[in-house]
């Protein structure tokens, strides 16, 4: 009986987390380059069989989030915007940390370096790219030419296992240790931006599903509570 109540309680909490993920997806459904998240819950018994250990009885739910890295729709935007046409990331230095980005807009900072929309340095094969006053052209394969002279190449990389790539906000991603970085042939499109890959309809459906799930859960809790009450008040009457 206790386990039932506990399980249901955890289930309600998990539903809450699920709604938080859904509302974050909906909030960012118009944010360029946003990738939607899904929360998945494995029940205890699955976990139990799968992992083959028993010590963990109180762990009734196993929650994980994963990000859907499918590309969003590419659309025409301002001339200094850029997007990646397919899988891949470019490397940037944000606050001294190596981050990966799906695109954004090119800018030149006060020191003459090529930066993105948040002022993070865009990395070429030789590090930060100094452009100064030159006329910058960036071709599809990431080659940067300054006044017609080759300067550097913006490397477009990809990961073997997306499960090791985490979001950090500001449309940046960080790779966990051990993530295998691959070369990518994806094209860099200038003058384009990528829409978010959130499907409003499926988020909406999931929101309804979750709110109903919560309702069911709380109804069952009440039934269990009644049963407990009966056990205490009716059966145990001397």
């Amino acid at each position: 009986m206790d386990i039932g109540l506990q399980q249901l309680g955890k289930s309600l909490l998990a539903t809450n987390s699920h709604l938080a993920v859904i509302s974050n997806n909906i909030a960012n459904s118009a944010t360029d380059r946003f990738k939607s998240d899904t929360l998945s819950i494995r029940s205890f018994s699955d976990y139990f069989i799968h992992e083959d250990h028993i010590s963990n009885k109180e762990n009734l739910y196993e929650i994980t989030t994963h990000t859907d890295f499918t590309s969003g729709e590419i659309y025409k935007r301002n001339s200094n915007d850029f997007a990646l046409d397919g899988n891949g990331f470019i490397a940037v230095i944000y606050n001294d940390n190596l981050c990966y980005s799906r695109g954004g807009s090119f800018n030149v900072d006060a020191d003459g370096y090529l930066v993105d929309q948040h002022g993070s340095y865009i990395l070429g094969t030789q590090g930060n790219i100094l452009v100064n006053n030159a006329n910058v052209e960036i071709s599809k394969d990431g080659t940067v030419t300054l006044d017609g002279i080759y300067a550097d190449t913006i490397e477009i990389s990809d990961f073997e296992d997306y499960r090791l790539v985490n979001k950090t906000g500001k449309d940046y991603y960080v790779a966990e240790q051990g993530a295998n970085v691959l070369q990518s042939n994806t094209n860099l499109l200038q003058g384009y931006s990528e829409k978010s890959n959130v499907s409003i309809t499926s988020e909406y459906l999931r929101m309804i599903e979750m709110s109903k799930k919560f309702e069911t859960g709380q109804a069952v809790i009440q039934i269990l509570d009644e049963i407990n009450g009966k056990a205490v008040n009716n059966i145990a009457v001397f």
Partner: protein, 249 residues
């Protein structure tokens, strides 16, 4: 207790910013020289939650305004015939002065303002047009008949004087800060284009606003739907909290 509340509320506030930029654009659809403003967003940080076992999961915390961008796409030119109307076909900004302050503008309707020292070319707010040496452009009584060529060179019918207007073009005009009245002030990291730029000045023309009503309306509908969706989430979260409160009757 709940992230979803705050995420939804924060997203609604973000969409309100979209509403105000769109209404600003629509209000200026007939303003000569107006450049469309757009607002861009990015996601906020993610918090990692540890579950009882080793696995962790992350939940985002909403949306934030990245910045407001001016779209410097060229507007269509409209002929007015007035020799004090100036517009650029492509790149280019004129420089105006109000005391020591410098302002940039894409052109517009200018007038002659009378000062104690004579007549000067100014905009409707009394900001004076500057020549390439940084002086105000004085027009005497006889010099009212003048022409400005496509490079910004002013020549007068009744005098030999030649005035070269100050024209700048920027590599990253999106770093200009809007001041109002189609004037911009130099922002941080603004870079002048030192290369010979594609400047074609047109006298007797004004540049129309580059706002496209159809795009604005679709953006508005999208923002409105998003607002609606978020308010629905608030409602659902409210119901859920209500249910949690009624768990024990």
């Amino acid at each position: 207790m709940n992230n979803a509340y705050y995420i939804a509320a924060n997203s609604m506030m973000s969409q309100e910013k979209v509403f105000s930029t769109i209404s600003g654009n629509i209000a200026n659809i007939n303003t000569n020289g107006y450049k469309k403003t757009s607002v861009s967003f990015s996601d906020l940080m993610y918090s990692f939650q540890q579950t009882a076992s080793s696995s962790e999961y992350s939940i985002g915390s909403g949306i934030t305004v990245n910045g407001y961008n001016k779209d410097f796409q060229y507007g269509n030119l409209k002929e007015t015939g007035s020799n004090l109307d100036i517009a650029f076909e492509k790149e280019g900004f004129l420089t105006l002065a109000d005391g020591d302050e410098r302002y940039y503008t894409r052109g517009g309707n200018f007038t002659l303002s009378a000062t104690g020292e004579g007549y000067f070319i100014s905009n409707n707010d009394g900001f004076f047009l500057l020549d390439s040496e940084g002086n105000r452009v004085q027009i005497s009584q006889e010099e009212r008949d003048f022409e400005i060529d496509s490079n910004g060179l002013m020549s007068f019918k009744n005098s030999d004087r030649i005035v070269n207007l100050a024209i700048t073009s920027f590599e990253n005009p999106e770093k200009l800060q809007p001041f109002g009245n189609n004037l911009y002030i130099a922002g941080l990291e603004l870079k002048e284009n030192t290369q010979t730029a594609d400047i074609i000045l047109r006298q007797g023309f004004v540049e129309q606003s580059n706002v496209d009503i159809a795009t604005e309306m679709t953006d508005l509908i999208q923002a409105q739907r998003l607002y609606q969706m978020n308010s629905k989430i608030l409602q659902v979260m409210d119901e859920i909290s209500g249910m949690a409160n009624r768990l024990r009757k």
